[in-house]
């Protein structure tokens, strides 16, 4: 079973605004029957003010599709059409306290239904550029269509390239077989042959979890005192942290995000995620990745604590104390 948030369950068990709106003047039908998710959104919009007076949904779909539809209608009621269009699929997912990666497309469907309904209200034709493929990388929710398009557009030829461009394969690496298959096919299409990277264990400098301590013979122990590990000065330590963040930054910037070091206090490292990282569902994954890197580089346990943009000043003030 899926790991649904309480909010998703609440909107599924007791959906808001179910059914078609009476006297609706905007309708958006989107979804894919083969995938088993389809949604009709009906709106009643005040033609003078463009304010959405009422919204209703009818959904053929799973628990998260129904919950996303319900959330969408709650979010847009009372907004003007232009305000409503600013709602992203991520906003819908956030409203529901997150969706499992396999279910993010349900929030996308909500967002598309809204666009379709607004286009219908304004008498516009909606551009259909939607194509969704089977999920390849479950860690970062990347589908086959996206992987193929990125390989083609950028002439990629290795799994590492694909990970750098799409994040796919950057997590557990279980999808590498699938990525190699896609690469083989795409490379064959452009007349090339896929060659796998040479097998090599990527050895990370991780502290050994369990070591066997054999007591040294007393004489030897006395003769050769073990030198203590050189301790970094606070400045060296902060510089080291900065270097690590610097090396991670390009990956985040590819996704239009960034990270900033705010303060280091003992084992607590306070950072601020900016740009597209703000409110991104993957933010916690990104943070744990950063933390892991820092632990490896510093050889000690540190805790990476995100400070939100608004709370940053307050947190900073608190840190000064």
């Amino acid at each position: 079973m899926w790991d649904y948030s309480e909010k998703v369950k609440e909107h599924f068990y007791n959906p808001k605004n179910a059914g078609a709106v009476v006297e609706a003047n905007a309708t958006g039908d989107v979804g894919s029957l083969s995938c088993g998710d389809a949604l009709r959104l009906t709106l009643k919009v005040d033609p003078d003010t463009d304010v959405i007076l009422d919204a209703g949904f009818q959904t053929f779909g799973c628990g998260s599709a129904i919950a996303s539809s319900s959330a969408l209608t709650e979010m847009i009621k009372g907004l003007t059409v232009d305000q409503a269009l600013k709602i992203s699929n991520q906003d819908i997912a956030d409203f529901l306290d997150g969706l499992p990666p396999e279910k993010m497309h349900c929030s996308v469907m909500g967002r598309e239904a809204l666009q379709a309904a607004v286009a219908n209200y304004r008498g516009e034709e909606l551009e259909d550029d939607h194509e969704e493929g089977a999920l390849v990388c479950k860690c970062f929710a990347v589908d086959e269509v996206m992987v193929r398009e990125t390989i083609r557009a950028n002439n990629l030829s290795s799994v590492e390239d694909v990970t750098n461009y799409t994040k796919a394969g950057g997590g557990c690496s279980a999808c590498h077989e699938g990525l190699e298959r896609l690469l083989s096919e795409e490379l064959a299409a452009r007349g090339e042959v896929f060659v796998a990277a040479p097998t090599r264990a990527k050895v990370a400098k991780k502290p050994q979890l369990v070591t066997l301590e054999v007591p040294a013979p007393a004489a030897a122990a006395a003769a050769a005192p073990v030198p203590a590990a050189p301790k970094m000065t606070n400045l060296q330590r902060i510089r080291r942290i900065e270097t690590v963040l610097e090396s991670i930054r390009p990956t985040l910037q590819r996704d239009h995000g960034d990270v900033e070091l705010l303060e280091v206090e003992g084992k607590n490292v306070y950072v601020k995620l900016t740009g597209a990282c703000t409110g991104c569902q993957m933010a916690s994954m990104t943070l744990s990745g950063i933390q892991q890197r820092l632990i490896e580089e510093l050889g000690e346990f540190v805790k990476v604590i995100p400070v939100s943009a608004t709370g940053a000043a307050a947190a900073h003030a608190q840190l000064e104390v």
């Binding site: 599924f12 039908d29 083969s34 998710d37 779909g61 598309e112 969704e132």
Partner: protein, 402 residues
């Protein structure tokens, strides 16, 4: 809250007698059956007894035809890959479009390795065309792999007849009987079946143990090589406790065979009839006249299966669905697609699978709850209007990206 478990084709509860029989093999009977000393010897004798129980359940001629594996999937892979390895000159496999992924995914992979795979189609009721099958049998076929009973619909395939046909052509025949063993009588010594897979946890034994039946004299190449366990046909230290458990489960399955085909069948039929009587636009998928006694697969049109399961779960009922969402894929179940069930029904299929533990009161509870759940979801469906589907549903609601 009442907890009604109707997902026995997914897995079953381990029988209490099975658990009791297993327990000593975690404590005082911990020996390695290969060891000469008394610790090992006792375990070795217990494995022998278990092997004979399974032999009896399958109606096999010799107990040495029973090879214990770690699961049904391992038995399937061992059988198919053995046939290919033993007959390298043969490059074709015949199977069906509705097999379990344990067979289908392997076959799809073997296509990339240069093998030819013929997947026999099924009709709208999930039945095979034996003329199509006969036409494919020939000298290049290494193995035929056809399931005895379908896990989703319970539909039975005529595997004994198909095995005879393969045998006439000198073609190896394997059947994935994971769903059939324990539910339908099996008499392998009087059949032409060469290989058969079963899985312990489908018949009230624990997870992590399975069997490959290998008819004496059929050429074989092991998947796992190493020690001499299972006469060198499946190396690796035996999962002794689970094998002992499977032995007891096999005995119990024989005892309950009649019950399964009378009482369990009666409850299944009652459930199905009551739901169909109370819920409009619902139908049974597969071949109702020729199927497992415990399985009812019902398509509820115009709604989606995961939503049905979540609401069933809320009232304590466990079942499963062929919808895309429950599998995390982009398509509804390949079995429903193979039977050409329309999308609006295929996504709404729910499988109720009973066991000997299912009670009349449980069935009554399900009969009470299902109609309201279906009605509740249909109220949300764009295909539904009041008491029935909208007129010409395909046209009335045609989403953009369909």
């Amino acid at each position: 809250m009442t907890a009604v478990y109707l997902d026995n084709n997914a897995t079953t509860r381990v029988d209490d007698e099975v658990v009791q029989a297993m327990l000593p093999f975690f404590t005082e009977q911990f020996g390695n059956p290969s060891s000469l000393h008394s610790f090992g010897n006792q375990v070795g004798l217990a494995l022998k007894k278990a092997r004979q129980s399974v032999q009896k359940l399958l109606g096999a001629e010799h107990d040495s035809e029973i090879i214990f594996t770690s699961c049904g999937t391992e038995a399937d892979s061992t059988a198919i890959l053995s046939a290919l390895k033993a007959q390298p000159e043969r490059k074709t496999i015949i199977t069906t479009t509705v097999e379990h992924p344990a067979v289908l995914s392997l076959c799809d992979y073997l296509v990339t390795e240069g093998y030819t795979v013929h997947k026999l189609a099924v009709d709208k009721r999930g039945r095979l065309n034996l003329d199509e099958y006969a036409a494919l049998l020939g000298g290049d076929v290494a193995v035929v792999s056809v399931m005895w009973a379908n896990n989703e619909t319970g539909t039975l395939f005529p595997v004994e007849e198909m095995a005879r046909m393969a045998d006439e052509y000198g073609v190896m025949f394997h059947t994935d009987a994971v769903q059939a063993v324990g539910k339908v009588p099996i008499d392998l010594q009087n059949s032409s079946i060469h290989m058969l897979s079963l899985s312990g946890h489908k018949l009230h034994a624990p997870k992590g143990v399975g069997v490959l039946y290998l008819r004496r004299g059929i050429r074989f190449r092991p998947l796992l090589r190493g020690g001499h366990q299972e006469r060198g046909r499946r190396a690796g230290t035996e999962n002794a406790a689970s094998i002992v458990g499977l032995g007891v489960a096999a005995e119990r399955a024989l005892q309950f065979m009649a019950h399964e085909n009378t009482e369990v069948r009666r409850l299944r039929d009652k459930l199905e009839a009551a739901i169909l009587a109370a819920v409009p636009y619902a139908f049974v998928t597969g071949d109702p006249g020729n199927r497992l006694p415990n399985t009812a697969n019902i398509a509820f049109e115009y709604i989606e299966g995961e939503a049905i399961l979540l609401l069933l779960n809320k009232v304590g009922i466990a079942a499963s669905s062929g919808s895309a969402c429950t599998s995390g894929s982009l398509e509804p179940s390949h079995v429903m697609r193979a039977m050409d069930i329309p999308y609006t029904a295929a996504h709404g299929t729910v499988r109720f699978s009973l066991s000997r533990y299912t009670t009349e009161a449980e069935i009554d509870h399900v009969i009470r709850e299902v109609p309201a759940i279906v009605a509740q979801l249909r109220k949300l469906s764009p295909y539904w209007n009041g008491d029935g589907p909208v007129e010409d549903p395909g046209k009335a609601f045609a989403p953009v990206y369909a």
